[in-house]
Every structure is written in structure tokens, then in C-alpha cells.
Amino acid sequence: MNLMVSAIGQGLLWALLGLGLYLTFRILDFCDMTVEGTFPLGAATAVTAISHGVSPLLATLFAIGAGMLAGLVTGLLYTKGKIPSLLAGILTMTAIYSVNLRIMGKSNISLLGKPTLFNGRFMASLPQYFDSVAMGIIVIAIITILMVLFLATDYGQAFIATGDNPTMAKSLGIHTDKMVIVGLMVSNGMVGLCGALIAQNNGYADINMGIGTIVIALASIIIGEVAFGELTLNQRLVAVTLGSIIYRIILLVVLQLGFSANDLNLISSVVLAICMMLPQLEQHLNLKKSILKGVRPHE
């Protein structure tokens, strides 16, 4: 029971990462590797600020700002510097590693005994693991509603069009470069927020905590899509969060099978690869048909 609650809580908190990446990966059609750096950047910023006596809320806002800055750098490299999207993200991500070490001064900072967003009076009153569930629900609800509202504005529609067909967007006077930069900033701001929350939830920031985050983010997006099929845009945003929770439950099951936490990145990649190959597998093996055949009586 506790493990399940913990998995749901983790799923909700990590869903932010998926939602952030959804903006770039699915809507802008931009595979943004920056998140591998932005996630620990958010964590490093928040944890360092808290350990210097900054209030957890303000520290979390710093983390969002730092994330947006990272997004801005990738955006400028891509739009003004004409560096391919993948490489622009990798460059920023690599640079952020050094920035994180500068911010933290060492490779690991603990928050032991320090205030966090999770040990406020309300959060502390909740039973174990329910604090992350509560925090996750609050943050995800706010972010999802903001995204739904944003995407339904004139600006948001222009944003979607930029990712969908940049040639058309330009021919309608949409400044696609600006849209890409804004999208990367908002997306990385969300990833920074996610890093800050996870670090406060875990009670520490580690220089290596970003490794594999892009796979986790993609997994929540893809699992959500595979599990729920054809959806409207708004429903898809909710599906990302559900996908993130399903992913955590899959991890839980796998760990129960006897794998160690050291295998997590391997498992993440395998889960994502399987999910991405499902449509192909279905085509070749006729999965649906053979499954249906198995449950239908012979005629």
C-alpha cells in the first residue's frame, strides 16, 4: 500500500517533466536534450538557495527562473545560431553540468534539517508519502489548467501552428523563432520546477540526478499515448500525467521482481523502447488479432 502511494506521488511529481517536454517534443516538434541539464539545474538552484537560508518557495521560483534561462540559451543557439535542435540541446546540457557544480560547490548537497516545501505545517500533517501526492496533485492541476488555457489563446494557437507547420506559420506572420524560444523557456522552466520539487522531496540534490531524465519524460508521454489512444489535445495533457504514474507503477513492479535501483536507467530505456515499438510490433505480429483469436471460441 505504502509503495503504491509512493509510486503515485512520484508519478505525479515527475509528470511535470513529461508536461514540460510535451510542449517542445510534441507541440513544437523539437527534441530538447536541455532537460537533462535543466532538471539537476533546478534541483541545484533550489537546494543551494535553501541551504543558504532562502525560503523554500522563493528557492523554487529561482529554480524555475534558472530553467527558463537554460531554455533561452538553447533557443538562441537554435534560432539565431542556426545550430540543429538536438545539438543545441546537448551543448546547453553539457555546459549546465559545469554550471551546476559551480552553483553547488560540490557534487551533493543534503537538505537534512532544512525547511522544504514538503515539511510545511500542512504537508507534515499528512501521513507518510501522502505529502508528495498532495503536492503533485496541486502542482499538476495548476500547471495543466494553465497549459490548457494558454493553448486556447490566440498566442497558444500560433504556438501550436509553429510546431505543426512552420512554413505556414511564417506565411501568416507568426514569428516562429520567438515561439520556439518562448516554448523552450516555458518548457525548461517547468523542468526546473520539477527538479526543485524532486530534490526537496528526496532531501538532497546530486550532480548526476539528471541522467536519464529525458527518457523518463518521453516514457510518460509515450505511455500516455499508447495507453489512451486517440485523444484531444487537452486530454493528452492529462494522459501525460497518467502515463507518468503508470511508468512509476511499472518500475515498482520491476523492482519487486528483484531488479536493483542501479538498473533503473536500463529499465527506463527498455520500457520506453517497448512502448515506442508497440505500433510496429502490432503491425508485424498482428498482436490484437492473435489475442482476440485466443479468447474467441472456435467456429
Binding site: 489563446t153 490566440d154 497558444g156 494557437q157 507547420n165
Partner: protein, 254 residues
Amino acid sequence: MSKPILELRDVQTVVNKGTANETTILKGINLTINEGDFITIVGTNGAGKSTLFNVIGGNLGVDAGQILHSGVDITKSSEEQRTAFLARVFQDPKLGTAPRMTVAENMLLATKRGERRHLVHRQLKANLARFTELAATMNNGLEKRMTTATGALSGGQRQALSFLMATLKRPDILLLDEHTAALDPHTSLNLLHATNERITHDHLTALMITHHLEDALTYGNRLLVLQNGQIKADFRGPEKQELTVEKLYHYFED
């Protein structure tokens, strides 16, 4: 005498500058487009027709010369800035619409062509009736697919939608780059009729590139022959009416 809406003065463009492949595509184009002109443009492949459109549209820079819109120099203004008065329909149906957005959403985007877009609600429902009515004028069932993603439309419907979007907000200049070339003969004819009707009814100023000499003769009040980066002939009014396919064909022979 109608007033000039767009002027090109000795416009030249060079590609692959500074390399062995340096080529001058437009070699000094002088063209005055008057309000209400419907100009058809013919010419061999590589004559510079598409380059001319790209130069007018602003996605290709000018190496010499000047472009004026209603007397204002716009040579240096960007593609995005020019969309305030200029609309385009591309040859490829895929280029003109956003495939994952619905027909109505695409039309909504087009109503704000060249305008700043704000963080205000898009008001799709309030516009739906007007959009549906407009879609019905294309006579191809587009009005029944308002909430379909455009990626699921036929090429003809997509191209009709692209044309509608280009004219939703009245442009000073409409550029049609072989916009019916990718369609079957019947669909192509349908769209050409609708195009002609819209342009003459609304007195739009339009430039249309075509490879069909008959179409170039049938439509419009002016015909340009582009050859080797220069305007070889410019037939207007009665002069254009007397023109035949045979006479026009001579320009393509050497």
C-alpha cells in the same frame, strides 16, 4: 487609372554568392502592379517565377534594386512583416495548412494574418458559423469537415482551404504559386473557378504562376512571360485577349 500597389525596381538576386556556382536568378526585374490587377505568369523551369514570388514575399533577400508597397520601401522588411498585406498559396497542399489542427482552427489562425497574437481566448465558437459559410463556397464538402484535422483532408480540400485562408483577411497582394498543379484536372478546374470568382468579386490584386498556357490566357487581365530572370513580355487588357496559345508557345521554343 488605378494606383500602383507594388513596385519592383531593377530587382536582382544572386544565389551561391562567392562560390563557383554563383548564379544571378533575377536579372533586373522592373514591374509595377496596379490595384485590381490579376496577373498570370508563365515561363520555363528556372526562369525565376518562384524566385520572383520569394522576393516579393520576403523569404529571399534582394541583392540590388528596390521593392515598394504603396510607395513605401519594403526591401528590407521581413517575411513576417510583409504578411500584414500579403498572402500566399503554395503549390504543395501540405505547406499551406497545419495538419494536426482542425479546418476551423486553421481558418482562425488566418484571420489574424500579420497581426500580433495575444494571450486572449481564441473565440473559435463565435467564428464557426462564418467559417462554415465560407467553406461552403468552395463546393467541395469542406463545410462538413470543420472539426476534422486538416491532415485527414484530400489534397483538393486542403488546397481549397489554403486559398480560403489566404483571402479570409483581405490581402493587398495575393500570390498563387501554381496552387492547382498538384490536383487532378477536375478538382484543379473547380479551384481555379473559385479562385477567379473570389478575385474578381472582391477586386483582389493577385499574381498567379501557372504552367497551363490556356489558364494563363483565360484568367486575369495581364500576362507576364518570364525568361532567364527577365520579363520578356507583359501583355495587358486587349493585347492579352488577342493572344493565343500558339503565339505564347513561341516564347518557350528557344
